[in-house]
Symmetry: C2
Subunit: 461 residues, 2 copies
């Protein structure tokens, strides 16, 4: 087969007079008297290439009848385009019809609702919106790896199947090969000794604990992999399966952690603006007006830091009535978070030093005996986007917190070992990758930034 050139490359680099060969899917066909225009898109960029077909083509009749969604391969010569909004077009010397598409093709030229498009998630990547979303998602994943690689972090694949927290935690998916109809029983209880892993296992909710083990060998590591929640919640922000990024740094405290999170988020914002500029402009025009300006502001801003206790004080004095109560010791709700970042600070802000009773056992206790070295990064329009903490590196205090919070130390003997020999201050955070994509693309439903979303009652494709 002759070498196919990507349309993104043709549009960016080629000149009138160049021969070229492209392939893609027909978005529109406009037939005039003497000439027919095809808009052909190959997914490499938002823009389609205008192909000019004239009656001299052997199969001109068939070309005029091409349906939206057909695949074609076109050979021809580039020429300056007289039409506005495009620099060049391709005058075809040959158009091979590869795969036809008839009137039943669901993506005819009209606007479809996102709800409808979710039902045809196998075809929606062929639309402008989802083309832009999944190109941006891909670019951001590259940006994540690039950020950490440039800084010498080791990428770790932490386990997906895990035996941690598998005793009764409601949010866990169980993983098993036991026969459902007749599970082996001992004293009326399922005998997991017969299961594939000889114990109860489930899908991981976080790679953090294993990530910490690697940070205590490689100093700076990150994970980037799928995590799971069996929460039966049908909200636009929750999915049962999502990807998470979790860096962990050794010999580091909460301030170093916050500095890393700030660098990271600003890098991602800049990357989206620079490397996905056409798609970002599309989001600005069609998905969320002003998003480019908003992201640009975050990329340029220096993030504030505010103590949880101060945040509570400011919220208590705020001249608005919140739906949820505000009081020292209670967690912040999204309405509170947004008020802080949008009204009080006017930009991204880390809230630090949360009450220990609302935070996880592994967070480092502060000297006040009441708070832990936790941080949440709040950004306008969304609220919390990153959550992290310095970890409790002191064995005795960690054991004490496990007892207080009902975490069984026996299953985590290896985690405790990491505090037994060569322990050191370390810290990390988690960023939900889908939340990031939603934030940077302006998409409001997590189902619309995941290729094939998994939510309650939905595991299609």
């Amino acid at each position: 087969m002759s070498v196919r050139m990507r349309i993104s490359k043709v549009l960016a680099d080629c000149c009138p007079g160049n021969d070229t060969n492209i392939a893609g899917w027909v978005r529109t066909v406009r037939s005039g008297k003497e000439i027919t225009f095809l808009a052909v898109n190959d997914g490499s960029c938002l823009e389609s290439l205008q192909v000019v077909a004239d009656p001299a083509l052997d199969n001109y009749e068939a070309v005029c009848r091409l349906g939206t969604g057909s695949s074609v391969r076109v050979t021809g010569v580039l020429q300056e385009s007289p039409a506005s909004g495009q620099r060049i077009e391709l005058r075809a010397t040959e158009i091979k019809i590869i795969g036809a598409a008839d009137q039943d093709y669901p993506l005819q030229k009209k606007r479809h609702s996102f709800e409808f498009l979710r039902e045809i998630a196998h075809l929606r990547p062929r639309t402008n919106t989802f083309g832009a979303v999944f190109r941006t998602r891909s670019a951001l994943a590259q940006a994540v790896h690039r950020f950490f690689a440039e800084r010498g972090f080791i990428y770790v694949h932490t386990p997906i199947i895990t035996a941690n927290d598998c005793e009764g935690a409601g949010e866990l998916f169980r993983v098993t090969t036991l026969p459902f109809e007749k599970p082996p029983l001992v004293d009326g209880k399922v005998d997991f000794a017969e299961d594939f892993f000889a114990q109860a296992t489930g899908l991981t909710v976080s790679g953090q604990l294993e990530g910490e083990l690697f940070a205590l060998a490689f100093s700076d590591i990150y994970t980037f992999g799928p995590t799971f929640r069996a929460e039966n919640s049908n909200t636009p922000r929750h999915a049962a399966e999502f990807w998470m990024i979790e860096p962990e740094i050794a010999f580091a405290d909460l301030m170093a952690d916050a500095a890393l999170a700030e660098d990271f988020l600003r890098f991602l914002c800049r990357f989206a603006l620079e490397e996905c500029s056409a798609d970002m402009a599309f989001f600005d025009e069609h998905i969320e007006k002003g998003i480019v300006k908003r992201i640009d502001a975050v990329a340029d801003s220096s993030f504030a830091i505010m103590d949880y206790s101060e945040a509570i004080g400011r919220l208590e004095k705020a001249p608005v009535s919140f739906q949820y109560p505000v009081s020292w010791g209670l967690d912040l709700q999204t309405e509170h978070e947004r008020y802080i970042t949008e009204q009080i600070v006017g930009g991204p802000v880390f809230i630090i030093n949360y009450p220990k009773d609302i935070k996880a056992f592994y967070m480092r206790q502060n000297d006040d005996g009441k708070t832990v070295a936790a941080m949440d990064l709040l950004v306008p329009k969304v609220g919390e986007i990153i959550g992290g903490s310095q970890r409790e590196e002191r064995l005795d205090l960690l054991q004490q917190r496990m007892l207080e919070t009902g975490v069984n130390p026996e299953g985590l003997w290896w985690y405790l070992d990491s505090r037994r020999w060569g322990s050191c201050p370390h810290a990390g955070f988690g960023l939900g990758f889908e939340r990031l994509v939603m934030y940077l693309a302006g998409m409001e439903n997590i189902r619309d930034v995941v290729p094939f979303p998994r939510t309650p009652r939905h595991a299609e494709f």
Copy 2:
């Protein structure tokens, strides 16, 4: 905290006379009369930094008693090292003992077996071998993303939880939130309508089918994510959870697929040799003699292509007796594959056009009616490392093959849709990431290239 410099950077870039500050874990302590040497490693590279402590330090006594595995932070001045094998050493002005390690620390200075180290997978990254393995694994993951990003491929996260093939396939892990003790039953069978996804679901064995959908929108895509096999096989090459890379290219045939696979593998070989040279030299010395030369040969070679039928003919004439039978229509076993690549070809070779009866339903039928456009890439010492095919893009032939092979078309309506509208020739392959790491590091057991391996009866950590 003062800024910590990575030891890899100190060793590569710094000069005698520079002030520096490092942190890491003590590998060895050698106390002389007047002076004590600590080898400190922070995981950023194989090499440790030699720290020179003298009695003028406030805590000299404590430093002399430091156990292997202790974590320290050292401030000092770099100086030329009189010892052989190292350019510079760090004369300490301050050594902070961060986390002690006592005599019970399992990694004392002696050689441990890989079997023993698997039992302490939480600590083994602190050894030379596993430091090198997991740095190389991380570097190779970066290489995978870089290769595809440079070539304009879109990275796709295909689903982990899937309803495909969930009706009885033995190799699938079931994913569920149903109560085991009392699963809801209808007519004596489990009622999956009550399960989280309202149907039977399991863990994916491949992202290919969903990847194809994206290739038919973005032209060139790849996946890189975890896949699963519930095979109860305890071999050095099988794990229940492993990562796979699956590119898929549109408007492409089997030869384009093979060219991509060749470029990819050679890129990865070159990357390992160039970016992981110290770790590769370590593998060459301690894990597999000659591996650098072997990998170098692959990076430089042009891969051969041989028809399956020819391969069978050559094997039948081979002057050796194989354990498994050789006959047209049978699959190649590792002994056959190795004989072909090592003895017949003397280098990497693609075997193409396998009998259709031993291959999957989605592979494109050749015109001979007997074979499909499949390819396996064989490399010396290992046998098959990459498997791929051109996909059947013709709806009627695809449906026919599904019927012949017992695949239910109803569950794959969306896959068939992709052949209904705008279908086109496309092809792809799969590379098991762990197999790649084993190949490039010379490690012989898959359990030793996965941070926390999952195998039958093992899901620790």
